[in-house]
């Protein structure tokens, strides 16, 4: 089974005091550390697991600059066979443009299955995977927690609301957006990533893809980005832990929590 995995490099924002940049429309990113999007990490692992079971190839694809190749090398180290980076140049990428660019790249590849993460940890749109399936005209399932390939079909389990799960059989080719926890992504060591540098990594310019200008104009336009205004209502408890615990209990009861 030939699998394409779409991956993205995202900033780590845990504990970071985010600031808005000069344009007023973006978060300042210069000092941020970047990692592979967590959901995509699971998607790569899932692709590699399926490949190990059914043979075939895994191709990792990302849209981004040279720095973003890092996540492709990570994917290669995890077991992907080749990687493609599409350089977007100066184009602004929203979910629509991104999915269009990916679709134009992937449509010429041989694939049975496309895996993406459910969402990316930066803008949390959760739209690229589904839109990509639509552009390609293939079936999709979102928030997938299990994939079992069965001949030219795959049984997938998806998370629904309210703790419900749904299992369906979907004809391939299809696209699944993968939820975290579907597997345990393997660790790839620094040396492993460096060694993966020997595998094929192709770079395509966005202009090399046959996409009309119109399709490359973003559908989502950010007017303003701002930090949530500071409001009152927070109470910080301090002192002896047992006293703090007592106080928390009192407040919870007071607010009507049934303990």
């Amino acid at each position: 089974m030939n699998i394409v995995v779409c991956v993205k490099r995202v900033p780590m924002t845990q504990d970071v005091d985010l600031e808005i940049d000069g344009s007023g429309k973006e978060v300042k990113k210069e000092d941020l550390a970047y990692v592979i999007n967590d959901w995509d990490n699971y998607a790569i692992e899932e692709a590699v697991i399926i490949k190990e079971k059914t043979e075939g190839t895994v191709t990792a694809v990302t849209v981004g600059g040279e720095d973003d190749e890092e996540v492709l090398r990570r994917a290669l180290a995890m077991g992907a066979d080749r990687a493609i980076r599409i350089d977007p140049g100066a184009f602004i990428l929203d979910a629509f443009v991104l999915s269009k660019v990916l679709a134009e790249t992937i449509k010429d590849l041989e694939y049975d299955l496309i895996l993406t993460g459910v969402q990316a940890d930066d803008d949390n749109c959760g739209a690229v995977g589904v839109m990509l399936a639509e552009h390609l005209g293939i079936s999709h399932a979102a928030v997938v927690t299990s994939v079992e390939p069965q001949g030219d079909q795959a049984a997938v389990r998806v998370e629904l609301e309210g703790g419900m799960d749904e299992v369906s059989r979907i004809s391939l080719p299809a696209l699944f957006t993968v939820q975290t926890g579907i597997n345990e992504p393997r660790y790839v060591s620094i040396l492993g990533i460096r060694k993966a540098g020997k595998k094929e990594l192709r770079v395509i310019g966005i202009q090399d893809l046959n996409i009309q200008e119109e399709a490359l104009s973003p559908r989502l336009i950010v007017e303003e980005a701002f930090l949530p205004p500071k409001t009152g209502g927070a109470e910080i408890l301090s002192g002896d832990p047992s006293a703090v615990a007592e106080e928390i209990l009192r407040i919870l009861r007071e607010k009507g929590v049934n303990i």
Binding site: M12, D15, D31, A33, Y34, Y187, S189, I190, L191
Partner: protein, 678 residues
């Protein structure tokens, strides 16, 4: 009766005795060489390992630890027994050579023995024969009567058998000389052993005594060559390999060996670490040959003490047997070994064993023959990490360290935020080209963990009060890499080291100090360039003694302190006295020592794996056991000098509900608190 005929001169079955002597020698040596060749094949299959530097230091160690057996008396009775038998072997070796050459009709040592040296040596030989004989009996009884837990898994039958062989060698020689005396050999002075044997034989018929004379000689010779051939088959190989092993010992305690000694570019290698037997270095294979199965390593292993599935001794034995099965001495074993050989990592040595080690170094400190464990453990971990078999809880930690320079994933930009707590004390954040006297390397825990931050603050206060010109690297500092290297992520360690070295080279300083003994150890031992690194206890002790930093008020109350030696300060770097001298400088402080102190200190649980991975099979936490030891010593305050020890003990005291009875404090915090009260 005159002197009896030498047994080698008499004829047996129509052939002169020395033909039998030659036959025994040739067959004995040929078999012995064959076995050694099989062992040599294994040694040669190992990886490169340079062990011939600093010859004088090595020779000194050979004398101190090999010839004088300095580590033996760490276990008093077993040590005394071993030293007596060892020295017996040294003295009696000459006698054996004499007897063997006599049997060849080439009595090469006779001229020497006919000088004044002869009678003196004979007396000495006789005394040692009795000593060795008595010691063998003692050792047999000791093993038979007391079941030492450290011998669990050792070959007890072999031990008894070999002790019996040695005793038999002594007896045959005594009766050889004793029977000669009865048969009329000239009296050679005070010979207590052979006189004793003669006493027993006195009154027996001359034919019987002649028989004893001949048989004791030939049995001695046969036993000698049997023993020689028996040595390389089991744990008594150490009689041959121990001295070389001591000579070839690791000289850089605390440092971790490079992933490969013979490959500069690790990226070019197909695999890293130990997966198969041939991935050990040749010296690490020699270690396995040398193990005496005494079990001192496991007896002192904290992982073993708390019931984790790790016994250093058993690792060595399992690896040794695995190797012996690969290249068997007896060819008929070949088939069995090749067909269904289990995998070395996973089956012979389990993952849990590999992750159970805290790298505390207690095993290596104890081993009388300097067998190494930590480097092997790390090499096995390197294989597990490179093949993605590490505990999955490490993934996030490694990723965080790679991306943010600390295991918590905190933004690098916040690495100096802990300074805010210090308010009035100015701390230089060193930029490119800045110069200071002392560079304080805070490391990740000091920068981000609340408990370690308090210790870091105490160190800064001490530096400030002593008027030291110092600074920290703040956001430019990355994790020292001590943990990740010992968790097996060598590439990540290299990355951190390169980045830190670049930063360190961009500023001027005379000394680096650390709060964390791990950072101290890795900067000093793992980093290149011989940085001048001191742990804060080493740095402050002279300042305190010169009066540049004075303790404040005397301690009040009835507290009794005990000092816990952190593994990477004590055992790995030999810093035992500086912290104790600082403690003694605090007026009113009462100090007791725990039964396990200094180089026998007991690990708190460690500063790496334990933080992110739990070994399910354990009866209690190491820290919990250590707190019990402190209480057994009568202490109400545990003083330590390592943030990880502090964190583990604090946790153990809390979970044990012992807050009323004992507390833990870092030495620097304790010292500074006396000042603040004043």
């Amino acid at each position: 009766m005159g002197s009896p005929l030498h047994p080698a001169v008499e004829t047996y079955l129509g052939l002169p005795g020395y033909t039998y002597g030659w036959a025994i020698l040739i067959i004995g040596l040929a078999l012995f060489c064959y076995t050694l060749q099989r062992r040599w094949v294994l040694i040669r299959s190992g990886k490169a390992d340079p062990r011939f530097s600093l010859i004088t230091k090595r020779l000194r160690g050979l004398f101190v630890y090999g010839i004088f057996q300095k580590r033996q008396p760490r276990y008093s009775w077993a040590g005394v027994i071993h030293i007596l038998i060892f020295w017996g072997f040294v003295v009696l070796g000459l006698r054996s050579l004499d007897l063997v050459t006599q049997g060849l009709g080439l009595p090469l040592l006779r001229p020497l023995m006919e000088t004044g040296f002869g009678p003196v040596y004979n007396t000495l030989k006789d005394v040692f024969e009795l000593i060795v004989l008595g010691t063998c009996v003692w050792a047999i009884l000791r093993r038979a009567l007391i079941r030492h837990s450290r011998y669990e898994g050792s070959h007890t039958f072999e031990a008894h058998f070999v002790l019996g062989l040695i005793a038999f060698l002594m007896l045959t020689d005594m009766f050889y000389d004793g029977s000669a005396q009865v048969l009329g050999a000239p009296d050679g002075g005070w010979l207590p052993a052979s006189h004793g044997a003669a006493g027993i034989l006195w009154g027996s018929g001359p034919g019987f005594v002649r028989g004893v004379h001949a048989w004791s000689y030939w049995l001695h010779l046969l036993t000698f060559f049997f023993f020689l051939n028996f040595l390389p088959l089991g744990k008594h190989f150490h009689i041959i390999t121990a001295l070389p092993n001591v000579f070839l010992r690791k000289l850089t305690k605390g440092a971790i060996k490079p992933a490969r000694w013979d490959a500069a570019d690790l990226e070019e290698l197909d695999s890293l670490g130990i997966e198969g037997f041939e991935d050990f270095t040749w010296k690490h294979i020699l270690d396995c040959f040398t193990c005496t199965e005494c079990g001192r390593c496991s007896d002192n292993c904290p992982a073993q003490s708390i019931g984790r599935p790790l016994s250093p001794k058993m690792i060595t034995l399992k690896v040794r047997d695995y190797g012996y099965d690969k290249v068997p001495v007896f060819p008929f074993r070949q088939g069995k070994a090749q067909d269904e050989a289990p995998s070395l990592i996973g089956e012979v040595v389990s993952h849990d064993e590999i992750w159970s080690c805290t790298t505390c170094g207690a095993c290596e400190e104890e081993c009388p023959v300097f067998i190494e464990y930590i480097d092997k453990m790390i090499d096995m971990r390197r294989h597990l990490v490179e093949s993605a078999q590490n505990p999955s809880s490490f993934n996030k930690v490694f990723m965080n360290v790679e991306k943010t320079g600390n295991p918590f994933g905190k933004p690098a930009g916040k690495r100096a935020e802990w300074l805010k707590e210090l308010e009035t004390i100015p701390v230089k954040l060193l930029k490119q080209g800045d110069e200071v006297d002392v560079l304080y390397f805070v490391d990740s825990y000091g920068s981000f963990d609340p408990a370690a931050q308090r210790i870091a603050s105490a160190v800064v206060k001490g530096l400030y009060k002593a008027g030291i010109d110092f600074g920290i690297l703040g956001p430019r500092e990355k994790d020292s890499g001590h943990q990740v290297r010992r968790m097996g992520e060598e590439g990540l360690f290299q990355l951190l080291m390169e980045e830190n070295m670049e930063t360190l080279e961009s500023v001027g300083f005379n000394t680096i100090i650390t709060t964390d003994p791990h950072a101290f150890n890795t900067l000093k031992k793992d980093y290149p360039g011989s940085l001048n690194v001191l742990h804060y206890t080493q740095f402050f002790q002279p300042l305190i003694e010169q009066g540049l930093l004075k303790p404040g008020k005397a301690l009040k109350g009835n507290d009794i302190c005990t000092y816990h030696d952190p593994c990477y300060l004590g055992r790995h770097n030999g810093v035992y006295n500086a912290p104790r001298r600082i403690l003694h400088s605090i007026p009113g402080l009462r100090l007791v020592e725990m039964a396990r102190a200094r180089d026998r200190s007991f690990c708190c649980g460690g500063g790496d794996i334990v933080l992110w991975h739990e070994i399910e099979q354990e009866e209690m936490r190491m820290a919990e056991m250590r707190v019990q030891m402190a209480r057994a010593a009568g202490a109400t305050v545990m003083v330590t000098a390592c943030p990880f020890c502090f964190i583990h003990f604090e946790d153990a005291i809390k979970t044990g509900g012992l807050e009323e009875h004992i507390r833990v404090v870092d030495l620097m915090e304790l010292f500074i608190s006396t000042e603040e009260e004043a």
